[in-house]
């Protein structure tokens, strides 16, 4: 199981970084979403993997998993939503204000324009 989670984190990280390295804003937003899954899983995994022992106190539970990483990850998930929403809005703004949705600063002004969904 640990191996699956570790490879999952690794693959998510690699895919996230690859997409973040693209030149348009939408892949970057998707890449950051994948990266945030990876980071959340990574933080979660620092509490080690335990099955069938949720941190809900009860008389018949024998053991509990570590609740602290869960609390940290929970807020991280919500915050990453806020950040994604903000990024999407920035991406929209930069696309509508500028010529295309590139993320390369001034250098990308000369890049070929996107063809669909373009305002005329």
């Amino acid at each position: 199981m640990e191996l699956l989670i570790a490879t999952g984190i690794g693959v998510l990280t690699a895919a996230g970084i690859y997409l973040t390295l693209r030149l348009r804003s939408f892949p970057v937003v998707l890449g950051l979403a994948l990266l945030s899954y990876a980071v959340n899983l990574f933080l979660f995994s620092t509490g080690r993997l335990v099955t069938g022992a949720p941190p809900i106190l009860s008389k018949d539970a024998a053991a509990y998993t570590d609740p602290l990483p869960q609390a940290l990850v929970l807020t991280a998930i919500v915050i990453s939503f806020g950040m994604s929403a903000l990024l999407v809005m920035l991406a929209l703004g930069s696309y509508l204000e500028g010529r295309d949705d590139g993320v390369e600063g001034d250098g990308a002004e000369d890049a070929p324009e996107a063809t669909s969904g373009e305002a005329r």
């Binding site: 699956l4 690794g10 998510l12 390295l21 080690r48 600063g105």
Partner: protein, 952 residues
């Protein structure tokens, strides 16, 4: 008692700075009163403390901040700081009253007094600090306050330029000073002034003495306008005259001198000290005096004269003997009395004649007799004519120069000093003679009239002091100077004998030469001035501007190279560097595999793992098709939530599922306005490079997490598990951590979320006004619209589900303290419930039935959470301490009521508000782009006959 008084005195100006801006609504006199009150009270506090210091005591007060690091706000009142504090507060009173009559009705007086008090507090802080680092902070605040005050008339170009120049020069010096103080603290082992003052010998012998000295001197010289940093001071004269009087003559520019005096026992006495400080002082004294003679603007003349006198003080401290330091102390007082007077006189002349140009003035003595008398007394004192106090210190200064060996000669320093004194006599007499005496002009820009006592009262007092201090120095000045000088040199100073007549001494002869030479020079002023103009006309401002422009170009070039705006480049550099550092650390040590046994893998989990990995691969390959990639990302997100379910994290699973829903909807809305495909822009080589970087980073992170997971560890969570029920009153430990143990973190996070929501809204509003808004209004969607955008089935189901969804949300919220759930999840679930409604019936229809502002929800949420936290204060507990109890309402079960629940309500409202505000913003874009507004809940009205309804 005295400790508290000292703290009160130091903070009063800062507290007082808050009031004038408000009090101005009640009129100018009330405003002046509010500006005056803190200064007067602080002055009274100082008066109470004077006897202690007079007896040789030192009053100390300390407010600890980080005692473990030795950081504290220490205040210290000895004779030196007492004298400066008295000057700052006393001049504060005079200048405040003067400014009341000087500023015109259009000037924002409240703002002026606020800046002035801010400065006063910072300046007091410099002289009272017991810790060198604290002093540096106050030092920088005075630079900022000076910037604000010089630029007070911000509509004037000179004011803005002067303010920037002053800030650049003194701020740069402040940075050097900070560095110097840190080096000094390193040598002495403490930043505490008392400790540093004890270690003079050790510091002077240290290898780092010279760097520390140079850095500190750079700070002192820039602040006190020493050559070649003198040029900012004349440009600072664009400030209103009260500011020039207060900051740029009486107090702030003396901060550098104060610093030299304060650190005199530590730094002075070496060859380097004498060579640098005395030479700088001497050159500044001469250059300032020479330029002053040829300035036609009264304030410019006085500014260069101030530069010259600051050089005078620096020279005396630089000579390094005790006798010279004593003269410096006395001259600080002397200079204050005549120079502040003359600045205020210049302000009066400007006020009543409309000009400060000496060439257009003259003969004012008959028209403004009181001002003329005051100006004559102060001017003669500045010239060093007996029996005024300026004569006294000038004689003593000349005397000290005869003892100094400079440039290998006993003659060089006295000669230069005499020349400076000659110029000083000439410009002083010019100030008095060419403005007030001679024949009256036929016309002035304004008809001159005598000023009111509000304007001449302050200068009159100071001019009287010039006379009295000159006539009775032994009685009035000697006791104070003895004590202050003792504080400067760090040892008792024997009884002083201050008198005007010392017999025929070399100093008297030098003085005589200076006075005669000065009179001759002024008599032939036209010829001398012409010669000066031929000789040199270097404009320091031009050099400064060129330097600044050059620095700007260089930094623009550097940042253009380093910071070219390419996001992918930054990310690549960042990731590569991080992986490299991590790899270097990892490969530099030996490793053993972990021993913690791994969990078995059940088949369903293996299947989900495979599916999500395929999805990730597909995302990378197909990411150019944005819609598909987005849906696949959502699938991966759902797989992650399944992992959370399986791995004992029900709260995380619930959060992940609801966040996933909301995020995907939001992204779909956004994608509507973005290109649907990503073009191929990067070369194959570039993609290979990116792939290598990404795979390396992924491998590193994956390996790291495996290393974590295969090792046992000691968690701090045992505490949380043990105290969750008993201390936090809940059995859902994750929720108790969020709302109780680490409630402060959560409070910060909901604020961040709220800010994100509001920022999205603000971005939208800014966009709609600009180019993006125009583009949206002309939007032509490429996709064909659905003919049935609000299908009846969906509308009916959504409306049936709405109450159920809301109930689930409330239930999840209420049980959150004990079972999976809580404010975060409930907020998201209710947001989803609303979203479904919006999707089914359209935004406008739903919005019309939704009367709560989302901004308000965010505000209310943060407010409630904060209020809950603060409630704990009333029970004498720290912020966010929770309390809980059980109630048994009729009909339903026993019910727990915890204060944490109110906090969770705040979390809930903020989350709901932020999510909905983000959605609202995107929908507003859609409406701007021509999305039609539906009036009916669904496109097809089932109550109507088919032949009437479906026409479109």
């Amino acid at each position: 008692m005295n400790e508290n008084l000292l703290i009160l005195m130091a903070f009063l100006p800062f507290l007082g700075a808050l009031t004038p801006g408000l009090a101005i609504r009640a009129g100018r006199n009330v405003c002046t009163g509010f500006a005056l009150a803190p200064t007067l009270v602080a002055l009274a506090a100082l008066a109470v403390m004077v006897p202690v210091v007079w007896q040789g005591g030192v009053i100390e007060a300390r407010l600890d901040w980080l005692p473990a690091l030795g950081l504290s706000l220490g205040l210290r009142l000895d004779a030196l700081s007492m004298m400066f504090a008295g000057m700052i507060l006393g001049m504060g009173v005079i200048v405040t009253i003067y400014a009341r009559h000087y500023l015109s009705g259009e000037d924002p007086m409240g703002r002026f007094y606020t800046f002035l008090l801010l400065f006063q507090g910072a300046m007091l802080g410099i002289v009272l600090s017991a810790n060198l680092l604290v002093m540096v902070i106050f030092w920088e605040i005075t630079s900022l306050a000076s910037f604000l005050l010089i630029g007070f008339w911000s509509h004037l170009k000179e004011a803005r330029q002067g303010a920037r120049m002053a800030l650049a020069v003194t701020g740069l010096g402040g940075l050097a000073l900070a560095a110097g103080v840190l080096v000094l603290g390193q040598i002495a082992g403490s930043l505490d002034l008392a400790v540093v003052l004890e270690k003079g010998d050790e510091i002077r012998a240290h290898a780092l003495y010279l760097p520390a000295l140079l850095l500190i001197l750079l700070g002192a010289f820039t602040k006190s306008a020493q050559f070649p940093f003198h040029f900012w001071l004349p440009h600072a004269m664009a400030a209103p005259t009260p500011v020039s009087t207060y900051l740029h003559s009486a107090t702030m520019v003396k901060a550098g001198v104060f610093l030299l005096a304060r650190l005199w026992p530590v730094l002075a006495g070496t060859d380097a000290w004498f060579a640098i400080v005395a030479t700088t002082g001497l050159v500044t004294m001469l250059v300032g005096a020479a330029i002053a003679l040829f300035k036609d603007d009264l304030k410019a003349l006085l500014a260069y004269s101030t530069v010259s006198h600051l050089g005078f003080l620096t020279l005396l401290l630089g000579i390094g003997t005790r006798a010279a330091a004593i003269v410096a102390v006395l001259h600080v007082l002397t200079h204050l009395t005549f120079k502040a007077t003359l600045f205020m006189v210049a302000g009066i002349v400007d006020h009543s004649t409309g000009t400060r140009d000496i060439r257009r003035l003259g003969g004012l003595a008959g028209l403004m007799p009181i001002t003329a008398t005051i100006a004559t007394v102060a001017g003669l004192s500045m010239a060093g004519i007996p029996p005024l106090n300026g004569y006294l210190t000038k004689e003593m200064m000349l005397e000290e120069t005869t003892h100094a060996l400079w440039l290998g000669s006993h003659w060089a320093m006295p000669a230069v000093a005499t020349l400076a004194a000659l110029f000083s006599v000439a410009y002083s007499l010019r100030f008095v003679g060419h403005v007030f005496f001679g024949a009256p002009r036929d016309s002035y820009p304004h008809e001159p009239h005598e000023a009111g006592p509000g304007l001449w009262g302050g200068p009159a007092i100071l001019a009287l002091a010039c006379i009295l201090l000159g006539l009775m120095p032994q009685l009035l000045a000697a006791p104070l100077v003895e004590r202050v000088a003792a504080a400067v040199v760090g040892a008792p100073v024997g009884p002083l004998k201050l008198k005007l007549w010392h017999g025929v001494t070399p100093a008297l002869l030098m003085s005589g030469v200076a006075v005669l030479g000065g009179i001759v020079a002024l008599a032939n002023y036209a010829r001398v001035a012409a010669a000066w103009r031929r000789l040199l006309s270097i404009e320091a401002k031009a050099i400064f501007t060129a330097l600044v422009a050059c620095a700007g170009r260089i930094s623009a070039r550097i940042s253009a190279r380093l910071h070219d705006g390419s996001l992918s480049r930054y990310v690549a550099i960042f990731v590569t560097a991080t992986v490299a550092v991590g790899a270097a650390a990892f490969l530099g040590a030996a490793h053993v595999p972990g021993t913690r046994p791994m969990l078995p893998v059940p088949l369903p989990i293996a299947v989900i793992w495979t599916i999500s990995l395929i999805c990730v691969g597909a995302i990378v390959l197909l990411h150019r098709e944005r819609f598909i990639a987005l849906i696949l990302v959502a699938v991966v997100g759902l797989s992650v939530s399944v992992a959370f379910v399986y791995l004992s994290a029900p709260d995380l699973a619930l959060t992940q599922v609801s966040v996933e829903t909301v995020t995907t909807l939001l992204m779909l809305l956004a994608l509507n306005f973005l290109p649907k495909q990503t073009p191929v822009e990067s070369s194959a080589g570039r993609r290979l490079r990116d792939g290598i970087v990404a795979v390396a980073a992924g491998a590193a992170v994956g390996a790291l997490s495996l290393i974590f997971m295969t090792r046992d560890f000691q968690s701090i969570s045992a505490y949380h598990l043990a105290n969750s029920k008993t201390g936090g009153g809940g059995t859902n430990v994750v929720n108790v951590i969020l709302v109780d143990f680490r409630g402060f973190d959560t409070f910060g996070e909901i604020i961040v979320l709220g800010i994100a929501g509001l920022t999205i809204y603000a971005l939208l509003m800014a966009m709609l006004d600009g180019r993006a808004g125009r583009r949206l209004r002309q939007w032509r969607p490429l996709e064909r619209r659905s003919g049935d955008r609000h299908p009846m089935m969906m509308v009916v189901i959504a409306r049936l589900m709405m109450p159920l969804s809301l109930m689930v949300g409330v239930f999840i919220f209420l049980r959150g303290h004990n079972q999976p759930g809580g404010g975060f999840i409930a907020g998201l679930i209710i947001a989803v419930a609303y979203l479904v409604q919006y999707m089914a019936s359209g935004f406008q229809w739903t919005q019309a039935r939704q009367r709560i502002e989302y901004h308000g929800l965010i505000g209310a949420g943060v407010f409630i959470a904060g209020l809950t936290g603060m409630a704990a204060w009333f029970f004498g507990r720290p912020f966010l301490t929770s309390a809980f109890g059980y109630v048994k309402p009729p009909l339903i079960e026993k019910f727990e009521l915890a204060s944490a629940m109110a906090f969770d309500l705040g979390v809930f409202l903020t989350v709901l508000g932020a999510v909905m505000l983000a959605l609202y913003s995107l929908s507003t874009m859609a409406r701007t782009a021509g999305e039609t507004v539906n009036v009916e809940p669904m496109d097809v009205d089932p109550t109507q006959e088919p032949d009437e309804g479906e026409v479109a």
